[in-house]
């Protein structure tokens, strides 16, 4: 076995020995990382599910172009095609005057309200579904500008306030999640760094003896970096189990509440890659914590 491989094996063995020996401080580091990741993971899961629900709402956001009365069938067809080709449009549906009347009758519960009118007063319209990335004020303005120039459109109706509210809700939730994640992540980093620094001081004698017998800085430091990473992975796994347990436990109540409030409850847990990312975040936290702890250390031997 080459010397490099021997060194790598010894450094791994030292890292595992460190985790075993400093079991109390190791446990503290693992739990610290786990607590932070439970908070960040829960917030992410919440945001992701809320974003999903908001996206569903977003899919229902639409513009309606009310059309002039005297358009021929071919005019309607070409106008519909033009609207469908406009920027930010995901799909269009033509609602003819007759279809609008039928819809009205269905909603109003009969045609009594229209008795006495000679003609069908309801205009034909084109209902425009927006692409997800076009559900914002700027895209809406662009679309509005391009539709305004089309002949045959009488009036454009859209729920700008509704879209504005939707956008504010999405950005508030996402921004809040980022902010909370950032603050929690920084707090975790400091706690983990200090925990690992404690482990470092607890093993000061060993480090000084290693320095004495000619251990390189890499030989001394790598086991601590591995140790921090390992603690991070363990913390990430613990967090994943806790978040999953809490999700399973609370799912029936949350689903019931959402169905009552918003009429839908399509909830889901993290995908495999998202779960791996949570554990990876733990590993990253542990590694960064160890690096921060090591940055302030120098051997006294």
């Amino acid at each position: 076995m080459s010397r490099v491989l021997v060194l790598i094996r010894v450094m791994f063995a030292n890292a595992l020995r460190g985790v075993r020996q400093a079991s109390a401080t190791s446990l503290l580091a693992v739990l610290t990382i786990a607590v932070v990741l439970v908070l960040v993971g829960s917030a992410s899961l919440l945001v992701e599910n809320m974003s999903g629900i908001l996206d569903d709402f977003g899919a229902e956001l639409q513009l309606t172009a009310y059309l002039e009365d005297d358009l021929s069938d071919s005019d309607l067809a070409s106008l519909t095609d033009s609207v469908a080709a406009a920027p930010g449009v995901a799909g269009v549906e033509l609602v003819t005057k007759e279809a609008a009347l039928e819809r009205f009758e269905r909603i109003a519960g009969g045609a009594e309200l229209l008795v006495g009118l000679d003609d069908n007063p309801l205009p034909a319209s084109v209902e425009i579904e927006l692409q997800p990335d076009a559900r914002n004020a700027a895209s809406l303005e662009t679309l509005r500008a391009s539709l305004d120039g089309l002949p045959g459109i009488d009036e454009l109706a859209h729920g700008e306030e509704w879209i504005g509210g939707y956008m504010r809700a999405v950005s508030l939730i996402r921004g809040g999640a980022w902010g909370i994640g950032l603050v929690l992540g920084l707090a975790a980093l400091l706690i983990v760094a200090n925990t690992i620094r404690l482990a470092f001081y607890a093993r000061r004698d060993e480090l000084d003896i290693l320095a004495l017998v000619g251990a390189s800085r890499t030989f001394v430091r790598v086991p601590f970096l591995l140790e921090g990473t390992l603690q991070g992975v363990l913390g990430g796994l613990v967090a994943l189990v806790i978040v999953f347990g809490a999700y399973e436990l609370l799912l029936p109540q949350v689903r019931y509440g959402l169905e009552l409030l918003v009429g839908r409850a399509e909830l889901h847990f993290f995908s495999a890659s998202e779960s791996a990312a949570l554990v990876g975040a733990g590993a990253g936290l542990g590694l960064l914590g160890a690096m921060t702890a090591l940055a302030g250390w120098r051997s006294e031997s």
Partner: protein, 238 residues
């Protein structure tokens, strides 16, 4: 890192070490230690013995002057070059500096682990060395279960396992009774007879009398006396 043949492994030129402005732990010390030479360093507590040893194994830097150890200028040694120097310098302390959670074999093997010596080779070398200090049967014991003399023999084995060119010992027998003191000193002396340059700091004048080796006496950080080795040591066992 090489040291040209014949060049003294330790050379100091007007070396001073000050931890506080105006107060010197060592003051204007110049000396040479030849290859394979055995030197006792003596003096009262605080005379500068430990500081002088620390300068040789690059645990501290001189405030003034130059120190050449195995051809390397310690004052200009970068942090990354220090480990390489220390692998050529074995060190033994009064308090043994053993890791209690590791066995005797693991403690001695530390010096080989840090340079990536394959496990089989390392075990064989550790066994031979423990045999030479009479502790092969204790290799799977932990230091706490050993006597002071045995612990110092383990520390000595760790210092010698890399076949260092220089062996430094700081009061190696300070915690031992007279019988164990002789036992340890004989082992250190044996290393010197194999060509290792040895510097032993001690305030035990009976040892200096017994072995009759070169003696450097420090006083207030200065060399007060440099006494050459006696032609025939009184009662020396080597």
């Amino acid at each position: 890192m090489t040291n040209p043949a014949g060049e003294p492994p330790v050379r100091m030129y007007h070396v001073s070490k000050s931890y506080m402005a105006g107060r010197y732990a060592l003051h204007d010390v110049s000396l040479e230690v030849r290859r394979g030479e055995f030197v006792f360093l003596t003096g009262a507590s605080g005379a500068g013995k430990t500081t002088l040893l620390e300068l040789i194994f690059a645990a501290t830097e001189p405030s003034e002057g130059q120190i050449l150890v195995l051809g390397r200028n310690v004052a200009r040694l970068g942090a990354s070059a220090i480990p390489a120097l220390r692998r050529r310098v074995g060190v033994v302390f009064q308090d043994f500096k053993l890791l209690d959670d590791r066995t005797v074999e693991e403690n001695v093997r530390l010096a080989l682990d840090v340079i990536g010596t394959p496990r089989r080779e390392a075990r064989s070398r550790v066994f031979q060395l423990l045999k030479s200090v009479g502790l092969q049967h204790r290799r799977f014991h932990h230091p706490k279960s050993l006597s002071g003399g045995e612990q110092q023999r383990v520390a000595l084995a760790r210092a010698l396992v890399n076949e260092p060119e220089i062996l430094l010992a700081d009061e190696p027998t300070g915690n031992l009774d007279p019988e164990l003191t002789i036992e340890i000193m004989d082992l250190i002396m044996a290393a010197a007879t194999r060509g290792t340059t040895v510097i032993v700091a001690t305030h035990d004048l009976s040892l200096i009398d017994r072995y009759g080796k070169r003696m450097l006496r420090l006083e207030d950080g200065r060399i007060a006396e440099d006494h050459p080795a006696a032609t025939a040591a009184l009662g020396a066992s080597t």
